[in-house]
Point group: C2
Chain length 717, copies 2
């Protein structure tokens, strides 16, 4: 059942990517003398950047382009070519690719559009160039992309205008960006230049005929000069490759911030009618991000805000936030935003409060800490207050300074205070919200202090940093599931399993199942009822009967063994009447359960991202609110426990409203085992629904009461 080609494809391919991000020579096919044209812009940008390598303009109608000797064709170039930019009409791309492949070009970057994005004809063309490239070992970026840039290496192979935007002098704080969309990548770069940083290295992957987001993330995660990676993605063709890339990033402690687009189906999702179909691709990506600790953002602004924090600041080690403000209003808004994101606005120590009161008696010294507007008259106050607050054990300090960065002398005084604090406390995690001139923002960035115009953005960025830190800690301490050493059973049946077979599979996989007895006679039913303890429930076993209750195949609350015997006959008769074609194998007898919380465990194989597990509380209301959590399988116990905590209604399992705390250990264990079962059978299982899965109070266990397992129609043993 294993596709070997698929296996090979499941690893990111990094060959050629050093040529893409660290090129020593760049050819431009379709080079233009006009620096504003697509074929002219890369040359002009390389000159501006002072690219230290060779530039080879290729254009048969000119001997020189923008002051650089031009070549009539690629084969005329004598040196090795790391990157060949292809900026020619779509109809000439195949010829250009063939020429590049023949000349051992390392990477061809195809700006031209008119490929898979326009339909079948374009897809054919795309397949053609991919085949040429694969057979020669040349890598392709694009088509329909706008290229790559690595400003720190003074290299650029893009026609994005954004690369021409002014940035401050000197080496800038950087976060790598991998974007499937050229325009979104360009906007993100432009926004970053306003924020004392740049997205660098910067790459757009377009149609991904060859090089994809996963390849780039994997390569950049291993690059020591890259500390964090931002990505914009709309989808991926190979989930395993993306998983491996994210795993490499997580292993190396490189935060990944992701903006996933194409979620509009979210609305449609609400309309789906049963649990098994709830795991759509949007949720699959959420599952993936949760698994690998990817910081998910929902807008370009947030992508830039979090990247700014990662580029300039550092990751706090906990959730305690100190809010230092010059006005009550800012402090309240910040406390609201911090609480909303689960940060802990814990008060300063009594000693610190006393020290602050001594410095300026009218101040508020709990948390938020309010210097009062006196800080605008006496900038020394900011320094004095900061000195006290940085000594506290809060994990991050957010300082709210209104618009003090807009004008002298206040901006100078603020910078002086910040500089002194940074000198005495080089590792303090400080974030500032202030309206400031570009110069003041740059000065703060040089002090490793991220700065936000608006305080809610500052708090949200702080929260994202905290969450990234937590995800990193979880990743470091996790014990990964190794599927090869688990004893998960392998499914050998096709189609829908009987309830009995389904439960046996779950049981073998380590998921506790309600104790029940399969009987084939009324006598056996009576005996089973006695043995299990009364009252019992009885349920028909028949592969053809999917709606057992409707067929009269379920009886609850049977209080005597005689009645159990009678009900056996009743069930068989009723089902035979309602579904005459059904093959009735027998009846299950099980104890009636009271107490416990109904939950739903599920697994489904996403076509791209593979096995996903689902968890939620039982009942129609839950389903209508879509209060489920999702993760990519397999999960270890701790990951399963986190996933359980992710649902909004978690407090119902955690002893809310004086209810007994549920047996969360039993639940997490079952969910982890289910995830391993799904992962081990991802080629032969379509879906697993355990509904209800009853969780008894702490220490009393949990078990599946009903289960539906659907094997893949194409499954083979």
């Amino acid at each position: 059942v294993v596709n070997l080609t698929g296996m090979e494809d499941s690893l990111p391919r990094e060959e050629g990517l050093s040529s893409l991000f660290y090129p020593r020579s760049i050819a431009v096919i379709g080079a233009s003398t006009d620096p504003k044209k697509i074929g002219g812009r890369p040359i002009s940008q390389l000159k501006t950047l002072g690219f230290p390598g060779a530039i080879y303009p290729v254009n048969s109608r000119h001997t020189e382009i923008q002051g650089i000797p031009a070549f009539d064709r690629v084969s005329s170039v004598l040196g090795k070519i790391d990157i060949a930019i292809i900026a020619v009409p779509t109809t000439s791309v195949v010829d250009a690719i063939e020429e590049c492949a023949a000349c051992s070009v390392k990477v061809a970057i195809i700006f031209s559009a008119g490929f898979a994005e326009i339909g079948d004809a374009g897809a054919y063309l795309q397949k053609t160039i991919k085949t040429i490239a694969r057979s020669s070992g040349m890598r392709l970026l694009g088509p329909n992309c706008i290229g790559v840039a690595h400003v720190a290496e003074r290299t650029s192979a893009t026609f994005a205008f954004a690369m021409g935007l002014p940035t401050p002098e000197g080496p800038l704080p950087r976060v790598a960006l991998v974007s499937q969309s050229g325009a979104v990548g360009g906007i993100a770069y432009a926004l970053s230049t306003f924020r004392s940083m740049i997205f660098d290295p910067w790459v757009t992957t377009g149609n991904e005929a060859d090089i994809d987001v996963a390849d780039c993330i994997a390569f950049l995660a291993k690059d020591d000069s890259v500390s964090a990676i931002a990505t914009y993605l709309e989808g991926c063709q190979n989930g395993d490759r993306l998983k491996t890339a994210l795993e490499i990033a997580a292993d190396r402690g490189k935060p990944v911030v992701a903006l996933k687009a194409g979620n509009s189906e979210a609305g449609a999702m609400a309309a789906v009618s049963h649990t098994a179909s709830l795991v759509g691709s949007v949720l699959a990506y959420d599952s993936l991000f949760a698994k690998y600790g990817v910081c998910k953002v929902t807008s370009l602004a947030e992508l830039v805000d979090v990247s700014h924090a990662l580029a300039i600041g550092s990751v706090p080690m906990g959730r305690r936030i100190a809010i230092l403000t010059g006005s009550g209003g800012q402090g309240i808004l910040a406390a609201d935003a911090a609480t909303e994101r689960g940060l802990e606005v814990t008060p300063l120590s009594a000693a610190a409060q006393k020290r602050l009161k001594a410095i300026w008696p009218p101040s508020s010294v709990g948390n938020p800490i309010d210097t009062t507007a006196q800080v605008t008259n006496d900038a020394g106050l900011l320094k004095d207050f900061l000195d006290v607050v940085v000594e506290e054990d809060h994990d991050v300090i957010v300082v709210l300074l209104a618009y003090l960065g807009m004008m002298s002398p206040w901006s100078d005084r603020m910078l002086t205070a910040m500089t002194k604090t940074r000198e005495s406390h080089p590792d303090a995690k400080i974030i500032v919200s202030v309206l400031a001139t570009r110069e003041v923002q740059n000065a703060l960035a040089r002090l490793h202090i991220p700065v936000y115009e608006e305080l809610t953005s500052a708090i949200k960025a702080a929260a994202s940093l905290v969450e990234i830190g937590e995800a990193q800690e979880r990743w470091r301490s996790r014990v990964p599931v190794d599927l090869r050493t688990t004893s998960a059973p392998i499914l050998v049946e096709r189609g829908v399993l009987t309830e009995q077979a389904a439960k046996r599979l779950l049981s073998e996989a380590g998921i506790p199942v309600i104790r029940e007895v399969f009987v084939e006679s009324s006598e056996a039913a009576a005996l089973a009822a006695e043995e299990l303890g009364l009252p019992v429930a009885m349920k028909v076993v028949s592969p053809q009967v999917t709606h057992k209750t409707e067929a009269g195949g379920v009886v609850l609350d049977i209080t005597s063994s005689e009645d159990a015997a009678n009900k056996y006959h009743q069930i068989v008769a009723s089902v035979a009447k309602v579904e005459p074609e059904a093959n009735i194998l027998g009846v299950l007898v099980a104890p009636m359960i009271t107490g416990g919380v109904e939950t739903i465990l599920g697994a489904k194989i996403d076509p791209i991202l593979g096995p996903i597990v689902l968890f939620g509380l039982g009942g129609i209301y839950v389903e209508s609110l879509n209060d489920f959590s999702y993760r990519v399988a397999p999960l270890n116990f701790n990951e399963a426990a986190e996933m359980i905590r992710d649902i909004k209604g978690f407090n119902l399992l955690d002893g809310a409203r004086s209810r007994p705390k549920a047996d969360l250990n039993a639940l997490a264990s079952a969910l982890s085992h289910l995830s391993i079962l799904a992962a081990a059978n991802s080629k032969v299982i379509e879906s697993i629904d355990v509904n209800p899965f009853i969780v008894l109070p702490e220490g009393q266990g949990a078990f599946a009461v009903d289960a539906l397992v659907v094997g893949s129609p194409s499954a083979t043993a």
Copy 2:
């Protein structure tokens, strides 16, 4: 029971506010020669603005201040004084106020801090100045505020630095701002200057010893030069005044955008243990905003974004949005954001799609409409595409142009296209997302095109405009509840009502109650059971027994009249044993109900905002998720219907998952009647809980099964 002083106070006081917003003369007590000092800044700003009225610096140590003749005391000023700014040490404020009152100053603005915000001593001082002002008819702004400005009238009485920030030449689009916090008001003003608009008139109310947010909103809502009002508020002392102010604004079609701070208790709210305590003040404000169609925002950035849209653009009449983009990625992100906010990304007509395909075949023409990057080569494409899209019946068009506004010639070409479209379609609702220079932003503003750096902000602002339009339409078409003409019964009992009394009250108020019979003997119980139809439920009636089930006072599913007689004795015996002190009045017999959806209706009197009603679905899960909606009472039928739709689980009432649609008319009618009951009894009722309120399928009605009414302990008939 009616406090006449309270009645008087329930109307916003507008006397003196024309002097505050349209002053002809301004005195500055504590005037400074230094334009950077608090007492110097207003004078310097008035000079910069070219204030056409009289400026009277008051300072006994100078004969001239900043080139203007100074006075040694207020009484030396010969002319009338509209505004007296008090910028003196706290200890001198009372003297200054007395002097101003004696000189018939219209409004005194107190910059000084050290009043109610610092505790009891300050509160006493504040009460003192309030008393002086009230007795003379002088109004007070502050203390602890940073003043007022009305740039369009060339007047300013503030020490906010923000007022000194540069703005474009000429009259600017404006939205009024009323802020309780000076710093937040200042930041908002500063942010607005970057957005081709200003917050003007602009007022900060500080401690609100006299003039409060409600007074200012009411005055500004009646000012024809004001088209919309933004407000930052942390709370209010008089809910009736705020309600009246918001009603005035709604009546005049002036949108109000509110940033309410101090919501951090939201986290704590989750922990409350029963329904009646769920209506805290945060929810009370939400209820208020929902009632009066106030646009609630959750950050300063959003306050500015929505205000920008209101100042520069206009309100669309529906939810259909057309997204015109130059790249797929931007379009997908925008469609995600639009769907998330409930906007309808409906396709263009077939004819329009055909026209666009004819213009540029590679374009995508459904919605989002994607010109492809060709728009960067051929700006005519933007104009041609816009021409087609504006002719469609979409309500709002959002155009996504990456960073085309950053550089020539693309920015010029974009402006040309926009100008031509605006000329031919002066009323088209167009919003642009583009990174642009300040000049380009101002040019778009002059075309009445709101512009956003980031596309998600653009979509959110569009959605807010749409919601404002819908709220205005609902307000226009609403039939207000007039409490004087309703027949709501008036409660004359104190404390906790018996279930019987509670249900009688509900029934009299027009809320259907389950048919049930009160019996005082086992014989009567048997008769009642027969008459009502079996099976029945029985429940003890005793004012002392609040937990009836625990006391053995409830029996369900009684299937014979003999059993009803037996159960009568059983209930009485059990309750007498468990609660020996209880006075057992009798037993209620009621039919058992099956089917229908359990809901919860509630009402509570918020100490500030008065009667609030609550609606949610029944069950512990709902409570744990806090899925309730709230409104300020009273509500008419339509408002109640909206409120029902506001809960997340609404689809369970609306026929989701093949369930029968619930009788929403009966539900809305009951909720409206409950709101009227609560409003009519707001002085004598503490809370009403109707739980469960069963809603049967459409056409079959709904009724209260249990009810708890708590009369105010201080209630008098």
